[in-house]
Amino acid sequence: MAYPIPILHSAVNIMTPLLLASMGGLFTELSGMLNIALEGLLLMGAFCGVVFTYYTGSMVLGVLLGILCTMLLSAVLATVTVNLKSNVFITGLAVNLLVSGLTVVLCFELFANKGVVVFDGMPALPVLDIPVLANIPVIGDMLSGHPAFIYLSWLLLAVCHGVLYKTPFGFRLRATGLHPTALASLGIDPNRYRFIAFLISGFTCGLGGAMLTLNLGAFVPNITAGKGWIALVVIFLGNKKPLGLLVAALVFALADAFSNYAQGALNIPADFILALPYVFTLLVMIGFSIYAKKKDSIQS
């Protein structure tokens, strides 16, 4: 059995955008907003990351500018949702719709085609080998030799945990979702925390999206392929805790990696492979809600 190790290795790779998106989504979720816009924000990050890399010639600069643009978009989303008091589902859909149109329109303007960005001399992602880890069998193969972004995302996860559970900001953010009026009575504006939560999700989705394109070496239409939606499910499955996100994201990434492998090895029609993430996510989500319901009824 030589297959499992490459599958595990690519699962860790696939997991990262999902993990980053769900991390950002966790902040909005805890502030009491179901952020459907993750999909659109990821796509925005994916597009801007590659476009700015093309124009600046530097990947780091490109990704940073891409993150900035995505945060700008999430600021628009936050302004409309929080300050103009709109329905968060609808504004989230607006972001998804806007980005899917905007990327095509911009592609048409800048590259004269309908949604593909690819160019010569696209810098490859630098790969890091972790010295000691790489020597451990299986785990080393799985965890070492990835682009630096992946290790950055783990670092961010730790930061995310620290911010949420060890800082006044984290306490207040979580209070925003639990009891906004209590927070308001202390003279703290819950809307400020919601706004910041949206900005954070813009930041992580900008980074996660950039990872998607740089990994592939091109931007193609619908490159996110529902990852933003899956990230929402990851948040539920991860029990709204940072470490839970890691586990849930890994489960989805394993399924994805396996289906990629199955596509190559078994002769399954491409549409089935494309549908698999949705079907799998649906099943996991239903399974989890059955579990949660059972637990609830036992407790009460």
Partner: protein
């Protein structure tokens, strides 16, 4: 303001539409800005956008025709939303409904017109089942119907793609499409040379039916009560569990019906991804109409106009069709804003 005080319903209508008109004005302003940013000939682009769909019978009829599936979708979403259910599965429901209706119509050709009706109902049933499934999951296990309907829809779109390009593909044409439905099933054209068919009348009938159901029947009342306050409705003896599944079923069925009728009236065979975007547009239409069946028709016409305008501008100028989705997203952004709605709500309004 003595006049409006005597007619509270009239003043409410004026206020509501004032908010919507403001939003539409902002969206169109965004379009003008886009045209100046993106086009080398913004004047020409805007002319074709605004007047292209109206310049002759052909374009005008086609615009009206493209509003028909949006009316069905808008009705479907309104029905679900009235019962506090989010149906984000329109894309898959409209596509699967159209596909099922097409396949059944081909099989049921010998039955004549009853066969055509049966095939349409079969399409509605399949799409309704997909919607109802999300409602069932919510009723049974509190699974968010918003996410499940989206996931199911995406999976279904890919499955139908597979079926159209695989087992059901008509190999005698170069299109990726099923066989054509029998000619006897085609709905008559009413504004040649355009594609506008008598499906328009069916859409108007559907609006009346949904309006009647929601506002003149006991079940419609119970559905709306469940949507307004589920706990209260249950306390009042309404079977609120039923109103988690039934509205989602009806919502999907209306989408599916819209898909089937689009085949009978316009497309005649189920082409791969012919309905892409119709589901989301149906949702947008329902939002603009504020889930009022009677307002769905003008809202659908507005959306059809935006799409037709973009298509016209693309044909005659240097912009791409996707500018339509940017204008649509501006509408999405603003349409539920309480602040913008209140701009016109004067003091003293509750």
């Amino acid at each position: 303001m003595a006049d409006t005080q005597r007619h509270p319903r009239v003043s409410a209508l004026v206020r509501d539409s004032a908010g919507i008109l403001l939003i539409i004005a902002i969206a169109l302003a965004a379009l003008v800005i886009l045209a100046f940013l993106l086009s080398k000939t913004p004047g020409k682009t805007l002319w074709y956008f605004f007047f292209g769909p109206l310049q002759n019978t052909y374009y005008f009829g086609n615009m009206l025709n493209s509003a028909i599936p949006l009316i069905f979708g808008g009705l479907g979403v309104s029905l679900a939303m009235r019962s506090d259910n989010f149906n984000l599965g329109g894309e898959g429901q409209i596509y699967s409904g159209a596909f099922t209706a097409t396949i059944c119509a081909i099989q049921l050709a010998p039955l004549g017109i009853p066969g055509a009706v049966l095939a349409l109902l079969a399409g509605a049933l399949v799409a309704g089942f997909l919607g109802g499934l999300s409602g069932y999951f919510r009723m049974k296990w509190d699974t968010s119907e918003l996410i499940t309907s989206f996931l199911i829809s995406n999976g279904v779109v890919l499955m139908v793609n597979y079926l159209i390009a695989g087992p059901f593909m008509d190999t005698s044409t170069n299109l990726i499409a099923t066989q054509k439905i029998p000619e006897a099933f085609h709905l008559p054209l009413i504004l040649p040379p355009s594609n506008l068919s008598s499906a328009l009348f069916l859409a108007v009938v559907a609006v009346f039916c949904v309006h009647f159901y929601l506002f003149k029947t006991k079940m419609g009342y119970e559905l709306r009560m469940s949507g307004l306050n589920r706990q209260f409705a249950r306390y009042g003896g309404i079977d609120t569990k039923l109103y988690m599944v039934l509205p989602m079923f009806l919502s999907g069925a209306l989408y599916g019906l819209g898909g089937g009728i689009a085949i009978y009236g316009t497309y005649f065979s189920c082409m791969k991804e012919f309905s892409t975007g119709m589901g989301w547009n149906g949702l947008a239409v329902a939002l603009i109409a504020k889930f009022k069946p009677s307002a769905v028709i003008p809202a659908a016409l507005f959306f059809a106009y935006i799409e037709a305008g973009s298509r016209n501008a693309m044909l005659h100028s240097d912009v791409t069709f996707e500018i339509a989705s940017i204008v649509q997203s501006v509408v999405f952004f603003l349409v539920t804003s309480e602040v913008l709605q209140r701009v016109f709500g004067k003091k003293g309004d509750r």
